[in-house]
Symmetry: C2
Subunit: 340 residues, 2 copies
DNA sequence: CGGCAAATGACAACCGGTTGCCATACTTTG
DNA sequence: CAAAGTATGGCAACCGGTTGTCATTTGCCG
């Protein structure tokens, strides 16, 4: 067997192979490929030709090890199977790919511990992190942001760059919508206690309710999953309200199902407002009135902010806070309050 | 300024730091951590204590570079925003994490070129690849599988390990279901031409239709997206069939919406069967009759098959083909054929 | 107590690039 | 034409681990 065959094995080519082929040093190859100006045009062309001929693909591990930059960005979401994150993930993926970065997607399973250990892990294997709906404490997030570039989505901590989706203001729109339909007894179906979004929405809502003189009570907390909707629906019915504003569309859709099972008509007997306008909100039965926002774009903006931090080239005008607009999309799940 | 401060910087600890702290060589630290038997118990304990004290976290890049194993597995899906892949991704993610691997998720945008270049890219940065619904040619897949461990999902190429979802047999069940409801003019709403699943389903379906003496025609191809449903619905209505078996639930749901808009009742005027039982299939209007399968489990099985190949420890009983069962879930979108 | 094998740990090369520093060669200028 | 400056490419250290090789220590045996 030709054990000492000099070349031609199927092993991926390295810069050393190129260097040997061109009769130059490996460092020259490295420069030709990453700092073209640092090398004579003719030499560079020879090297580029050789690289193409050998199907050279740089080894990202080696690159990362020596340069310190990994070319990867971690994206942490609490629950991959929550449709809300689909569009977000797609937004980050598209924008990252466009910038030549790789996305490391991690499902933190709604757990602050998993999230914390993932952040620590990623410190070595990613250049930056995007954390959606973090379950970490403010302090932990601040500490993490001090160690490496980090952008949050839907989590406002002073000193940490963030993309915020302005659901509180949309919550106000939702309340006004319900009031204009004659509802006076309204419930807010809360999400996880550790969710800042949920807290902020409730604050806005209770304040606005007081101003407008309507009764808004809080139910929950409920896990942000469709199956939580059953308990939420029962609680809403029991509390005697005629309309609900749910933490998110998953819960809202779960409520629709439960209400239907119990023979309670939507919107005749009970109006439901969701949040996020996820996949499915437009074709459930009845279609869900919900607070919509450009989620994919939120992902893109988060990536832009992170990359601006990673490559602080031109003008230092890197924003560190971006608020995405939100609006109420009215569909069939809200209607006039029952006369009762 | 204490520029030459000997230690205590916030830089992550390396095995050299541990070695210095314990007064041993770096190689000993490496062995203590990865080959515990190779080192004296007492030495090992000292090293472990030091590692814990310094919060040592191994640098995965360096590890990958020197050992050749990256500890990562690439997962390629054609479209992240297709709910079908949510459960699949969750299955792979869970199983990979359990085995200590990292998941590199890539959206190949339904493009064979993106898919091919990603596979090439991943050759260096992942230990193996899982490709869902590949758009590559058989030859390309075979070549890729020869270069690195690879498992396909929903793509059957001889010589390439695969997890298959047995939708063809479910398609037969769907056909029988429709026949038993009195339908005799049925359409198959096809997916992309490059989708093997679609092709295989159509083959099964047309064969079964002939046996049973019913008329099944093929419509399409259609992109596997909800918005394709409109065109599909129009085509179905125009073709005069009374029932449709759609390539997937996205198209089916899109058809439901379009039919509703056009005032065509489901299932009174037209029955619709979907495929995959994705998120939303149970709460659309009407709820969709569809072919369901354990998708998350398919992801887990794919990971298991891949890992068995990566770590060929005990008995070489690594299967290279696994077929997931599928069954028809009947909901409200199918009903008796109209009398017409 | 000598001799031999097993256990242990140090040394150094290596994975595949990057980058600071230096020597050479070429160009420009006085 | 010499001095000075610039373009170019090589050398070697380094990133943080892994692993083969080998010297030394330890322990067991006769």
């Amino acid at each position: 067997m030709a054990t000492t065959q000099p070349a031609a094995v199927d092993r991926p080519a390295t810069i050393h192979d190129i260097a040997a082929l061109c009769g130059v040093a490996a460092s020259t190859v490295s420069r030709a490929l990453s700092t073209p100006d640092r090398v004579n045009v003719r030499t560079r062309q020879r090297i580029e030709a050789a690289a193409a001929q050998l199907h050279y693909i740089p080894n990202s591990q080696a690159k990362a090890l020596s340069s310190g930059r990994t070319g990867a960005v971690g994206v942490l979401v609490p629950d991959i199977t929550n449709p809300f994150y689909f569009d977000l993930i797609r937004g980050t993926q598209l924008q990252l790919k466009a910038a030549g970065y790789t996305q490391l997607l991690v499902d933190t399973e709604e757990s602050d511990e998993v999230e914390a250990s993932t952040v620590e892990q990623l410190r070595k294997s990613a250049d930056g992190i995007i954390v959606a709906a973090s379950r970490l404490s403010d302090d932990a997030l601040l500490a993490a942001a001090a160690k490496m570039p980090l952008v949050t989505i839907n989590r406002d901590v002073p000193g940490v760059p963030a993309v915020l989706i302005d659901t509180p203001s949309a919550t106000g729109q939702a309340l006004d919508h319900l009031i204009s339909l004659g509802h006076t007894r309204i419930a807010y179906v809360a999400g996880p206690l550790t969710s800042q979004s949920s807290t902020r929405r409730w604050t806005t809502l209770s304040g606005a309710a007081e101003e407008r003189g309507v009764d808004v009570r809080r139910l929950g907390p409920f896990a942000p999953k469709k199956q939580s909707g059953a308990a939420a629906a029962d609680a809403a019915v029991h509390s005697g309200v005629t309309a609900c504003i749910a933490f998110n569309d998953l819960i809202a859709i779960g409520m629709l199902q439960r209400l239907r099972d119990r023979g309670i008509r939507v919107p005749e007997d009970m109006s439901i407002v969701g949040c996020d306008d996820i996949f499915g909100a437009d074709f459930c039965n009845p279609p869900l009135t919900t607070m919509a926002s450009p989620i994919e774009q939120a992902g893109r903006v988060a990536v832009s902010m992170l990359l601006a931090r990673l490559n602080p080239l031109a003008g230092g005008g890197a924003r560190n806070r971006s608020v995405m607009p939100t609006h109420l999309t009215v569909r069939g799940s809200t209607g006039p309050a029952p006369l009762a």
